[in-house]
């Protein structure tokens, strides 16, 4: 497994992702287009929810990615703390804004969906509230990165924040559950096939989820490259000023 750590070398990472990036971008665009068009044009209306069921193709994948982006940041932060690979810290930094946007999409589509279904744009439902809190965590994390000038210090501090934040985000999730019982239905996807949404909706949804995952990977590659270059540039500029 030693080979995996080779990608921790910034140059190697840029070389590899430069080769992979077009593939991931094209695949992401393709699956997203297929999934969304399939979902939007070629699925029937739900007998209870009418055409609003089509929102699921955006709502569920974005909500999944909002959480998974944070998990990825957590893993990357741990790798930075333990093995101190710069690429890892920068990847966490690169993922944060994507996660924040995904959270906004999940919240916005949820609000638009909630209005006709529940008769309200917003309710202090546990799931909704937890997502709002997750968004606040993203904001704090991004703000901390932006506030600190020294790259290594920023990486260290944000990593610890991500760790502590994960624990508290989880705590908040349970606290919020305790605080208010919700309107939101249970998970739409689970390994238990019986509980899943009907197949007609399920297949295009899988495409959309795959599309969002691929999009996330492509964006993380691109943004991490950018962060690596920005970091190298800052280092060169600092040397220039000294010399």
């Amino acid at each position: 497994m030693a080979s995996l750590w080779e990608y921790a070398n910034p140059k190697k990472f840029i070389q590899t992702t430069d080769r992979l990036l077009p593939w991931f971008s094209v695949l992401a665009a393709l699956t997203l287009v297929i999934g969304l068009i399939w979902g939007f044009f070629f699925t029937p209306d739900d007998f209870r929810q009418g055409s609003t069921v089509k929102i699921i193709y955006l709502h569920v994948p974005s909500a999944l990615m909002a959480i998974n982006a944070w998990l990825m940041m957590l893993v990357a932060s741990l790798i930075w703390i333990v093995r101190r690979h710069h690429v890892s810290a920068l990847a966490a930094r690169a993922a944060a804004p994507i996660g924040a946007v995904m959270t906004v999409i999940a919240l916005a589509t949820g609000a638009i969906w909630g209005e006709p279904m529940w008769g309200t744009w917003w309710a202090w439902d546990p799931r909704l509230t937890s997502f709002l809190i997750l968004f606040l965590f993203y904001l704090g994390y991004i703000a901390l990165w932006a506030a600190i000038e020294n790259d290594d210090t920023a990486a260290d501090l944000t990593s610890v924040l991500c760790l502590v934040g994960s624990v508290f985000a989880l705590l908040s999730r349970y606290a919020v559950n305790f605080w208010n019982q919700g309107l939101h239905q249970g998970a739409s996807l689970s390994l238990d096939k019986e509980k899943n949404v009907a197949d007609v909706f399920y297949h295009p949804l899988l495409f959309c989820i795959a599309g969002f995952v691929l999009l996330f990977i492509a964006l993380v590659f691109l943004r991490t490259q950018t962060e690596i270059r920005a970091r190298r540039m800052r280092a060169l500029l600092a040397r220039e000023r000294l010399g």
Binding site: I133, L139, G140, A147, I148, T153, V164, F168, F178
Partner: protein, 218 residues
């Protein structure tokens, strides 16, 4: 260790330490609420537990940036870092000093402020208990936030942004205890959760705070 604690408390009580400031802020919040929602005492009684908890939380937040700022400015934080006292002990002491100078006064003053918001009689004890149990968590979590932002020149606003989401569980369970108490319901479960959060935070967060402080002092 005792000397350090006493020194911190003396610094906070002395001029410009912001000792009375938190309490005054708490009072102002309590006074402003009826202007915002109207003087109806029945309505006030309903929202009193939440307002009191929010007020306590915000006045706690107000003094967080002072935990390390003074020591950072005059360089004594670097000295303390090289002292034989481990960093974890230092941040725990700092959190304790912060609690003694802001948390305890808030707890003691809360019945008085509850009176202003016409909290039902049976709500007083749960309110005081929940605040007494919850404010240490606020101080410990706040110390972590203060350690994160210690080196920043204008860290105040960032500090609030970082710390407030971390306060969510404490606030939920604390206010729940106070609210249930005011309604005469059983407070056992949220009280246990609140205690769990407080003691968990006291046990684990000093390690994170110390790690962060070491990074900032590098």
């Amino acid at each position: 260790m005792k000397a350090l604690l006493l020194r911190d408390i003396r610094l906070a009580v002395r001029a410009g330490g912001g000792f009375g400031l938190g309490l005054a802020f708490f009072l102002i919040v309590v006074v402003l609420v009826p202007f915002g929602v109207g003087p109806d005492s029945e309505l006030l009684a309903v929202i009193a537990p939440g307002i009191l908890w929010l007020g306590a939380l915000l006045s706690c937040l107000l003094s967080l940036d002072r935990i390390f700022a003074l020591d950072w400015e005059d360089g004594s934080l670097d000295l303390l870092a090289t002292a034989p006292l481990p960093m974890e002990g230092l941040v725990s002491l700092k959190a304790m000093a912060h609690w003694l100078t802001t948390g305890v006064p808030l707890v003691l003053a809360s019945p008085l402020f509850a009176l202003l918001l016409s909290l039902p009689v049976e709500g007083y004890l749960p309110l005081v208990i929940s605040l007494a149990l919850g404010t240490p968590a606020l101080s410990v979590i706040g110390t972590f936030g203060a350690a994160l932002t210690v080196g920043l020149k204008r860290g105040g606003l960032l500090l609030s942004l970082l710390v407030l989401p971390l306060y969510v569980p404490t606030l939920i369970f604390g206010a729940e205890v106070a609210r249930r108490g005011a309604e005469g319901l059983d407070t056992g479960v949220p009280l246990a959760m609140l205690a769990g959060i407080t003691f968990g935070a006291m046990a684990l967060l000093p390690f994170a705070s110390a790690a962060v402080l070491r990074v900032n002092l590098r």
